[in-house]
Amino acid sequence: MSQPRSSYAIGTGLFIVLGFAALAYLATQTTSVANVHQGASYTLDARFANIGQLKERAPVKIAGVRIGQVQSITLLPGQEVADVTLSIDQRYNKIPQDSIATIFTSGLLGDQYIGIQYGTAKQLVAPGGTLVFTKPAQQLEEMLGKFFGAGGIADNLGGTYTVTARFTNVGTLAAGAPVKMAGVPIGSVQSVHADPLKLDADVTLAIDKRYNQIPDDSAAAVFTSGLIGTQYVAIQPGGSPDALKQGDEMILTQSAMQLEDLIGKFLVNGSPADKQAAGSVPASSSTARKH
């Protein structure tokens, strides 16, 4: 290695400059740092009955333009609503008080975001205030359920910190799957066993002790995250004054919907032979008619 000194000094300098330039490029041009506007912002609260797959740092948009992001998502203990705090750019501080916050999905499989539609009121919502009008995330199962007339919550039951629930069909639900209320995770599935006598699935749910005010007539349903996502147990609060306790069983459950079943029924509804079968209790029927 007998290069003259100046040539390797220039080469090394060039190499170091290029390396750091590449690092700066990666860090600023290809990461979310470019997205996170660090300017002045103010916060608004919005309460949703169900936030679906909404995550912290999800965008907040007006007319499709990003104006801020979701700062935090909390479930108020004892209440069945998710409290979402929005951090909005100071420039966009003229939001009418009767504006509607809605949880939308980008495309069919995309991430969820909050869209704000302007109202007509002259009064503006103050920084730190609350958007009163909200529309929760649409659950694909509920939409399909309504569409096929199977929206009702049908089957059986659960417990407390742990509680149990029986499902005629758990789909691909596995131990470790989240348990959600109003879309916010509050626990996880501890075990899934087939009952050898009753011939249904016995699911044990471990629920966080903070959420000990869940009415004992709440319903448990197996939902899917998005169209091809993993399955989870959603708890839909009931109206009973008594709370679920350790070892209780949730009576009302709704089994996993088999997309194949639903589509199959829909497709064969025209043929008279299948009409009878299709008309009988679509929600709990788990007889596979796969196409």
């Binding site: 390797y8 090394t12 170091i16 590449a22």
Partner: protein, 258 residues
Amino acid sequence: MNARRWGGSNVVTQTLAQIGACGLFLLTLLAAVPRSFQYFRETSRQLWFVGAMSLTIIMVCGLFVGMVLMLQLYHVLSIFGGTSASGMVVALSVYRELGPVVTALLFAGRAGTAITAEIGLMRATDQIAAMEMMAVDPIAYVATPRFLAGVAAMPLLCCVFCAMAVFGGHLVGVTWLGIDNGTFWSNMTAQVDLRTDIINGVLLKSLAFGAVVTLIAVYQGFATAATSEGVAHATTRTVVASSIAILALDFVLTAFLM
């Protein structure tokens, strides 16, 4: 320094002795860091050799890795109609795994072998012994500058590799396959996180790989039998041991950092 002498003929004990001797060598290397500061010019010359001279291979390979990754992803994702996500997937897979690992493998082949062969030949031609005669510490003058230069060069090389891969992905995805330019960048910036992907993925991993590759290269150079055959074997062992160490360490780091 000669692990074969301690390890006997058994393969397992020989391997263990190699690892142990390598670990002890790292300690001598680190202890010599303060003394090697007087040879700063040697360190910067090594930085030029292992860093600047590796730029060409790193840039060309990064470009092609990004291009082929985009081509593959485009065809798979078009089945699901998700081609707009392919830029994001290219960036994430390059930052988290391919960038540090491929850069380290290329670095082991390009710089690691050169270090081993150079030090091995120094030993074979008694240059190391001559340095000791002149009261020049060969660890502080030969080993530590190369080690420090390798540790410093790897993260920079990895950044260049990743930037070229993203550029290659953009080239194929946007200009050839027709993904929308805005979608390409916005999907990428929405999903790539500075801390988990750039700092933990690119920088931390490549720093660890740089340390491991140069340690193995320098150690093999010093541990070689002082013959031309010994140098050939040591160079081979550098590539084999570095590749195994990089991939094993990659798994451990991913498990801890994710």
